[in-house]
């Protein structure tokens, strides 16, 4: 049974408004390329296939060229904006807002001009105004969205009015019905205007609900982060405060055992040794807790990262555990690729990944068993496998293996010592380094841990 580890702490930041807007602006720019292509296709289709002889094809193509040039400028501006971010890594909201508004206004002017040159009130593409109105409702404030709708109506209305009054020439696409009654024209304008305003009303109402939910989510997220930090601090404080008394207990036990000599007797001396060992494992627990809380309180971005030569780290670890394995009658096999490779991360932490997995494998493998540690390169990843022929993990316990303080039932029976924090710590380190960890096991047959880490270039 393979259990990939999917439980994660909340570490991703919510997308700030300005970043969302920037993303949408990029989307805007991509859509505009499509619009330019659409115009370039529509013009010959209109003049050749549909016989719209009177539309001003040349001017429309010139406008398409204009739009193309503008979009190139937007791409450059977006790149410039991207490079000039604020200290927290997000672009300035007001600048991006202004950028988006400029694009909308220029788009509307071009759309109106194209409509004018391709039939004016006759052209059903006047419905394209609604896209800008909806986008403005989503991205900008409610007031700005209504302003965009009003601008659309003003542009369309004045174009139609000027054509109607004869101040602007007509380029009809349906010449046989070139003259509309003023009543019909007014109805078209009214229909367009009401559609646009209703669209703004609906879209902004939905957005307001959405923004409210988003705010609530953000609020809850912050509260969780806060709680997490408090928990870490508490953990750190407790484990720190626990250390001194444990050290004192251990020192006293040792002192009594060593200086008591013969008057203690063998049994008493043995009991003192046992008490000392219990204190020792408690000390390990506080150390693990400190490591864990230190990891949790570290922001992933604030770690000192370097490249770590993993084969060297692994060989050192195996060297450190060799004596323990020999003592327990466990054989350790190693298999490494010929070429050295590195992983981005902190050397001590990555060493902890190898040593935690290795020490578990040795600890839970009875005498006569084998532990195999291997690295294999599967670019862009390096895969560490630590396999043992040990007691295995009961199927019911598999899903809890990476939880803090969890120890499988058979592991508890097998050995009293162990804090249940090693794998939680290991998972944290692996995920911080951008990797994954998985476990595969059969009870009484053995366990295999597989760690996949991205190789540093």
């Amino acid at each position: 049974m393979l259990v990939p580890d999917t439980e994660r702490g909340i570490t991703e930041h919510l997308l700030p408004r300005s970043a969302e807007l920037t993303e949408r602006v990029a989307w805007f720019i991509r859509l505009r390329w499509v619009a330019v292509a659409g115009i370039l296709l529509a013009v010959p289709a209109g003049t050749r296939l549909l016989g719209f002889a009177e539309m001003a094809a040349g001017r429309i193509l010139a406008l398409a060229a204009c739009l193309f040039a503008l979009n190139c400028a937007y791409v450059l501006a977006a790149r410039l904006l991207h490079n000039r971010v604020r200290s927290d890594g997000t672009p300035d909201l007001r600048t991006v807002d202004l950028f988006a508004k400029t694009q909308i206004v220029l788009d509307l002017l071009i759309l109106t001009a194209i409509l004018h040159y391709s039939g004016g009130v006759q052209n059903p593409f006047s419905f394209f105004y609604i896209f800008h109105v909806v986008i403005a409702s989503i991205l900008l404030s409610r007031r700005s969205a209504y302003a965009v709708a009003a601008l659309c109506v003003a542009l369309f209305g004045s174009m139609v009015l000027l054509e109607e009054l004869g101040s602007l020439p007509r380029y009809p696409i349906a010449p046989q019905t070139a003259d509309y009654s003023p009543g019909y024209v007014a109805t078209v304008v009214a229909a367009t205007a009401s559609t646009l305003f209703i669209a703004v009303f609906m879209a902004t109402s939905i957005m307001a609900r959405l923004r409210q939910k988003e705010d609530e989510l953000e609020h809850a997220w912050r509260a969780v982060k806060q709680l997490e930090a408090t928990k870490s601090r508490f953990l750190r404080l407790v484990s720190h405060e626990m250390r001194s008394p444990i050290v004192a207990i251990q020192s006293i036990l040792d002192a009594v055992r060593v200086t008591g000599g013969q008057c203690l007797g063998e049994k008493n001396s043995e009991m003192l040794t046992r008490a000392g060992e219990r204190a020792e494992s408690l000390l390990h627990l506080t150390k693990d807790l400190l490591t864990l809380s230190r990891q949790q309180s570290l922001d992933p971005g604030h770690e000192q990262l370097g490249t770590v030569e993993m084969l060297e780290v692994t060989r050192n670890c195996v060297g450190l555990f060799r004596a323990q394995a020999d003592e327990r009658g466990v054989v350790v096999n190693e298999e490494y690729p010929a070429a050295a490779f590195s992983v981005r991360g902190d050397a001590e932490s990555l060493g902890l990944v190898v040593s935690n997995l290795l020490s578990n494998a040795i600890r839970y493998t009875p005498a006569g068993g084998t532990v195999s540690i291997s690295w294999r390169l599967d670019k862009p990843f390096a895969v560490l496998t630590v396999a043992d022929t040990g007691i295995g993990i009961p199927e019911a316990d598999m899903k809890h293996m990476f939880k803090e303080f969890f120890r499988a039932e058979n592991a508890r029976r097998f050995t009293g010592s162990g804090t249940g924090l090693g794998l939680a710590i290991t998972r944290n380190i692996v995920e911080r380094a951008g990797g994954t960890i998985a476990v595969e096991s059969r009870e009484n047959a053995g366990t295999t841990f597989t760690v996949t880490l991205p190789v540093a270039a």
């Binding site: 720190h240 250390r243 001194s244 444990i246 050290v247 004192a248 207990i249 251990q250 020192s251 006293i252 040792d254 002192a255 009594v256 060593v258 200086t259 000390l283 150390k287 400190l290 001590e348």
Partner: protein
Amino acid sequence: MAKRVLIIDDDPDIVEAERMILESRGYEVDSAADGESGLAKAEKIRPDLIILDVMMATMDQGFQVAYKLKGSPELKKIPVLMATSIGQVTKFKFDPKKDSDFLPVEAFIEKPVKPADLIANVEKLLGT
């Protein structure tokens, strides 16, 4: 004559434990619970060795005491054994070879101190 050891540590239980071990080996043991009284006692009794805890009232009080000891013409010859658990708390590890240049102590010992380690270090520093 028995050698005198001064233990400067703010944890009375640790002081007692170390005292038991050292006295069982025939050393004469004095103690002080903070840096200031430790310095005063060192001045008065002129011990043959000082065992100094790093983290007392403040994180680095032990260091301050060590610098003062080595700054005093009368006391600077007394060897200092520094007991520390700072490694577990800050992940900082001492390297006696490198650090002796800026840390004025003769030896380091990790807390919790194992009796055998304590005795070995004390014997080495006192040449007994």
